[in-house]
Point group: none
């Protein structure tokens, strides 16, 4: 069963989560296997980047919601330093939009905290082996240019105009206001809005706002 690599060198892991107790729980969990060893822990993105260079773990497990530069930016910086970095996102944000954005930012896997323990261990092993591990049923986007250099990742799927509308909608502006300000029809705003929701796999305005905030498009 787990005759994967008990004799060979274990999979080294760095945990990145801003909650010490949560980190401790994961550490105990992973260290109870015979092929995974936690060799580093960080409580924020900056420390994670610094520590990654020192310890060079095989896999990075990180939560998205963190103080400071946040999870997404951490992924980008780690990948910028080391394009071979294997990052497994382990978070509560299991919306399609979030999954998409983490993968586009350069993560190798995404796992919801609502999953069971076996899946976590399996995900670590898969990512360590160079595979991708995503728990979603379908790939919503094939490859919309994982450029990554510009702005927020998944938002690159939006056209210029759509991104402009995205910002205004996230700010809480009403459809009427937006139409007036841009001197376009309410119907046009509606069309753009629908396209945004479809591309980002969102379901309501609330999700749009939270996505915009976590992307840094609008302040909290």
């Amino acid at each position: 069963m787990n005759a994967t690599a008990s004799s060979a060198e274990p999979i080294t892991v760095m945990l990145v989560d801003d909650h010490p107790v949560v980190r401790d729980g994961y550490r105990r969990l992973l260290d109870s296997t015979d092929d995974i060893r936690v060799i580093a822990e960080a409580g924020d993105g900056e420390s994670a980047c610094a520590l990654y260079a020192k310890r060079a773990p095989r896999v990075v497990i990180l939560d998205l919601s963190m103080p400071g530069i946040g999870g997404l930016e951490t992924i980008r910086r780690l990948r910028a330093k080391d394009p071979a970095a294997r990052i497994l996102v382990f978070t509560m944000h299991d919306s399609q939009a979030m999954v998409q954005r983490t993968l586009l930012a350069g993560a190798a896997g995404h796992l919801s905290k609502s999953r069971c323990i076996q899946q976590m261990v399996a995900a670590v092993r898969a990512v360590a082996a160079g595979k991708r591990y995503v728990e979603t049923v379908e790939p919503p986007v094939s490859e919309p240019a994982p450029d990554g250099d510009g702005e927020p990742a998944a938002l690159s799927a939006l056209s210029k105009r759509e991104f402009q509308l995205f910002c205004l909608l996230a700010e809480g502006r009403s459809v009427q206001d937006i139409a007036r300000q841009l001197s376009i029809s309410i119907k046009t705003v509606g069309t753009h809005h629908a396209a945004i929701m479809r591309k980002l796999v969102l379901h309501n305005r609330t999700e749009l706002v939270r996505l915009a905030i976590s992307c840094g498009v609008i302040p909290v």
Copy 2:
């Protein structure tokens, strides 16, 4: 040091959290002590209430953000069944407003997930011994409504029910969903919604979401 109760019977604990991996982490952590034993786990409020009657744990550790009836309602139901129930809230929502509400709902203690492991164990022991354990710097327990001093606890203007609705609305749940879940009319949800908007001087759902995030009621 921990010569508290190694010979006597251990402190029995029930874990309530909707994330299996998190529960597993806590279990390993608590079971590694010699005076605390996890005897039950639940993933939502309803199961927790049912399981509490069966296993009668000394301490209940629960997270606030859960599907279904949610953490606060769970506290109330547990206390309604057994006024002697000792509940330790262990969550990420460490805003003053949240701490206050959990204590008013009947919790015996409140601890942020950002605290260290030693504090968690200490909190369990304190609560089991019949004490209160709150990590805040000052005692907010004395008076139920210390509002008036502006923005930090603006949410204290809301009633219990209104705050519950506030959380659900901020999470992006639709009015229909909320009505179904709480077994009330859509119209009633609308009334609460209007009251919330009036009390908090908000103008649309977007502002509500941003306020909820900045208050720590929901994660980003």
